[in-house]
Amino acid sequence: MPQTTIYSAPPRSPLVPIPGVATHEVARLFGRSAALAGVSLQVERGRMVALLGPNGAGKTTLLRILATSLRPTYGSALVDGIDVAERPELVRRRVAYLSHAAGLYDDLTAAENLRFAAVMLGCSDPADAAASALAAVGLAADADRRVRGLSAGMRRRLALGRLLLARPALLLLDEPYAALDADGIALVDRLIGRWRDDGATVLVASHQAERVTGAADGWARLAGGLLVEVGGAGVSVPAVEPASAPSGTGVPAAGTSR
């Protein structure tokens, strides 16, 4: 590797662009702690894959990198062959992300929140799109209530409704069952089914393996920021030589400038 790599942005991804998701030794540090320590993972388009692992395994960090909310410190990630760090604006058009936080405005009503999101997503008829999304997540009756007064489960439903405003090619769902009642859980399963029928790729992160593995094609397990095992269909580790890992082996020599 040329000596300048520590100063310039990461080099082009060595991954072969494939439809779906591919990451190569993707790592992310927060200050001094490594939330992800080099994960290589490949998910075929149209598959549903469960991302398993305990709290702190790196599931959310991986999803946030794929959603362009975080830049990877090392490594690269492609969504449908597009590098998330190089062309985030293109990736954003294809990805929808359900995060832990609902990302809502407390002083706006449920309908206003979705209408705002619809405008941001470029829907041709925001009011109509918002109304049908609200109906789909069972919040039609609460359309004009301020979000501040909604329960955690209802906020979650509203965040799910926002995912229905666009037709994403990749869905990233972070603990989608959290805070939901039995009805809500059934709703999530129904929505996932709908997205799968549309041909979207779905990544579901959960610390409860039993809940998600039933519907999923395959699964990948993370622990301590690393991929520990993959199984089932549609998910694999892209073949790379272990020597090309960015971890510690490529420490630059000190004083290269002298």
Binding site: S69, E89, A101, L104, L108, V119
Partner: protein, 226 residues
């Protein structure tokens, strides 16, 4: 371009709506700024001639203090429930986010100024009517400039540790020319522009607005990445 403007407008509307509905926060800021005016009176009074002389400076300092809280709040709104992440993930131009937030900030600054002017007039014995249109024009240009710079620096500090102190620390030296020109223009307007310098100060304010808007819109896109 038209789509960008529509996005910016939607963001500004959303912020304004949140501001109007979350009345307590806006009300507290206005009250705080008015309180600052009152305290300046204690600090410099009770000689009313001296207060009237210092009034333009005191007014603008109160606007700056209230404005710092205002621009910070407009970005705080986004971080309460992780909405900023969501906003940054929409497939929209970053410029549009900046413009939308700056418009909302400018409107909030105008409200702040519109409240502080009469309060200052009462406390310091100023004749607002005699000053004529120059005063609202100064206020408008000042509000735009402060919102333009403030939106940029609020974006710089929004996700930072110690942002409460970093925002004023970074922003106050930058808005020093705005403070200076605002004070001078207000003073000239109140005195009937005896030296014919009002136009020059308004031009300076206008130049500040323009430079900050362009720089802010160009730079804002680099701030949201994490």
């Amino acid at each position: 371009m038209r789509a960008d403007l529509a996005i910016a407008w939607a963001i500004a509307r959303k912020d304004a709506l949140s501001e109007v509905r979350g009345r307590q926060a806006v009300g507290s800021t206005l009250f705080f700024a008015a309180l600052v005016l009152l305290l300046f009176g204690f600090a410099l009074g009770p000689d009313s001639r001296r207060l009237a002389e210092a009034a333009p400076g005191l007014l603008w300092l109160a606007i700056v203090f209230g404005g710092l809280l205002t621009v910070a709040r407009l970005h705080q709104l986004e971080t309460e429930d992780g909405a900023l992440d969501e906003l940054a993930r929409y497939p929209i131009e970053r410029r549009a986010i900046y413009v939308g937030k700056a418009v909302a900030g400018g409107a909030a600054m105008l409200v702040l100024g519109a409240v502080l002017l009469p309060v200052g007039a009462i406390l310091y014995g100023l004749d607002l009517v005699a000053a004529g249109l120059a005063l609202p024009l100064t206020l408008l240009l000042g509000a735009i400039g402060f919102a333009a710079a403030g939106t940029f620096y609020a974006g710089v500090t929004v996700r930072m540790r110690a942002r409460e102190v970093m925002l004023p620390l970074l922003m106050l030296p930058v808005v020093a020319p705005l403070l200076l020109a605002g004070v001078k223009a207000t003073g000239a307007a109140l005195a009937g522009d005896p030296f014919g310098e009002l136009a020059a100060w308004l031009q300076l304010l206008f130049a500040f607005d323009l430079v900050m808007l362009v720089a802010g819109a160009a730079g804002y896109g680099y701030l949201l990445e994490e």
